[in-house]
Symmetry: C2
Subunit: 348 residues, 2 copies
């Protein structure tokens, strides 16, 4: 197969979720967010995830009904949800919609979601809000998984704990989606299946040595992902991972202490309305100035000029709408399996 029209892919994914008894509004958001992940180039966190989501729906480890998302407590600027493992993209978008509205009234809104199912690609949520001249921020951890070692330690304790933030500018928005570890679980898994040598020594083995070899991660006892900053400056990545842990599982009051075993996410989202603060035009002018200064910084390697976070993804996205979306083999294989397991025809 060659390239797939994004709309067709989204329709196909949506049908798979509808076939698994997922509410139409949930299936709609989840399929849109998954495809958006691939459009931006995050193929480990795009439609490849549908297979696992559908398996969890069948086993009851994920919920598909919108009513599973319950408000526990609410103020005009903040809300705590319990999601009972409803598919994460729907929960996150509901939470961001709440905070966007709160931000327009108060300048800021915040929402914490406990017991969400997995929330896919953080960058995929952002443009919906930057297009409204807002700044959305998403933080997440997974209390069921331990893959990153604290700085100075060998045993994995927590997750890559990523954050995503969208920043409006006068031109393309800045879309940030980074983990507080050197690399993500998804990259370790993908690399392991593809031969096992990472580009950089992002893992620590049981002898305390940094390594590119992913087999250490699957050994007994397991190796671990290093915090961002690696051995030299890993105290900073560890501190940032702790920040995300506290603002997600800590703030929600549900996490590792509860012995969670199923795939899921603790999530906190915030939205800032720059119109309340220094003004939308001032924000954009300030960020345009910053972007220009960054792009003017002479490149370290002549053929690799400085790139702003998200701009490569936005270009990829535009190209996919023109020429169709090209999916890597591992993603196609996962989709074919998902279709087969759902008893659906493979349409591409």
């Amino acid at each position: 197969m060659s390239r797939i029209a994004p709309e067709q892919l989204e329709h196909f994914i949506q049908q798979l979720f509808l076939g698994a008894d997922v509410s139409p509004e949930v299936a709609s958001v989840v399929s849109r967010v998954l495809v958006e992940g691939d459009l931006l180039g995050h193929h480990t966190h795009g439609v490849k995830l549908a297979q696992g989501y559908l398996r969890d729906l069948r086993s009851g480890h994920a919920k598909g009904q919108a009513a599973s998302l319950q408000v526990v407590r609410q103020s005009p600027a903040a809300v705590l949800y319990d999601a009972d493992y409803l598919l994460g993209p729907y929960c996150v978008e509901q939470a961001l919609d709440f905070t966007a509205q709160a931000a327009r009234t108060f300048g800021i809104g915040v929402a914490t979601i406990r017991r969400s199912h997995h929330i896919a690609c953080l960058a995929a949520y952002l443009q919906r809000y930057t297009e409204q001249d807002l700044i959305p921020l998403v933080l997440t951890s997974d209390p069921a998984v331990a893959s990153v070692a604290p700085h100075g330690g060998l045993d994995p304790v927590y997750t890559p704990n990523p954050l995503g933030i969208g920043i409006p500018t006068g031109e393309k928005p800045i879309l940030i989606d980074v983990s507080m570890s050197t690399i993500t679980n998804g990259l370790v898994n993908k690399t392991h299946q593809a031969g096992g040598q990472l580009e950089h020594a992002a893992l620590i083995d049981q002898d305390g040595q940094p390594t590119r070899d992913t087999t250490t991660f699957f050994a007994t006892p397991p190796g671990a992902i290093l915090p961002l900053g690696s051995l030299e400056f890993g105290h900073k990545g560890f501190a940032l991972g702790t920040l995300v842990e506290a603002l997600t599982a800590g703030l929600g009051g549900f996490g590792r202490k509860d012995g969670v075993k199923q795939w899921g996410a603790a999530v906190t989202v915030l939205t800032f309305d720059p119109a309340f603060f220094g003004g939308v035009e001032e924000l954009k002018a300030e960020m345009d100035h910053f972007v220009a200064a960054c792009l003017e910084s002479r490149p370290r390697v002549a053929q690799s000029p400085v790139r702003m976070p998200g701009h490569a993804g936005i270009a990829r996205r535009a190209k996919a709408f023109e020429q169709g979306l090209e999916l890597p083999e591992d993603v196609l294989a996962a989709l074919r399996t998902a279709a087969s397991e759902a008893g659906s025809d493979w349409p591409f």
Copy 2:
């Protein structure tokens, strides 16, 4: 000289600021915050800064009157201040007090300060709020300084852009204070004065090579500090530095685009009240579980077990109250000069 009682040091610093026509409430907060920085072990960001603050007060580049802090816009959960270069610690504490009160009502509060003077050590602000079972978060950048290169670039564009966050636990709070770059401007300056070799290759020279040699930083054209993540993962540190830039200078609408030349800070602070979300006891239990798991992670180097951010500082602080505070020679020299420039006696 040997050790100084913290209270005596604070009184001395306070008198220097009062002598420079600083409002009593401002002098009180600034001297307390500066000493607190040293108590926690952040000697580059403690009382050593008094000399520069006093010089800026004399030249009119810093203001000392509390009335300089003006509310530009306010909602029940958010505020934008303009500080007209009032000494930063007073501005930050006023902002945090506002957000703490908002958080108790709404779950969250946020404040942005534009045109603050320098705000010293971020960790020094936090315990006042963790002791109230709140989570304070401080972000800052300095629009007048460019010392960090964007990932892939050679020319410095922005500042280390640190953040600080305090997290209550059942025992000692977690106090995080980290820059989004490998190291801070303060460390580069201090190392340069002390011989010029950094512990790690945290700078990039004009040939694009990472280096420990600080002379590159003061060359023409200058080298730069690498983003957190260094060459391999510096796109993440650059993204996080961009986040802080957007939420401080961007949100406040005043920054690099305005051609700022004087020492100062763009600041945003947030406070979360866990009582509104999953509950204070649940947050503490979750973080206690996390801390225990981190401390149980077998150490990479047997004699260096995992440490939680801020715990070494808290131990240092307790020791200083018992035995007196020991200040490094460069700090004492700066203090003596400050006293001499102010025409004050040296009391220690």
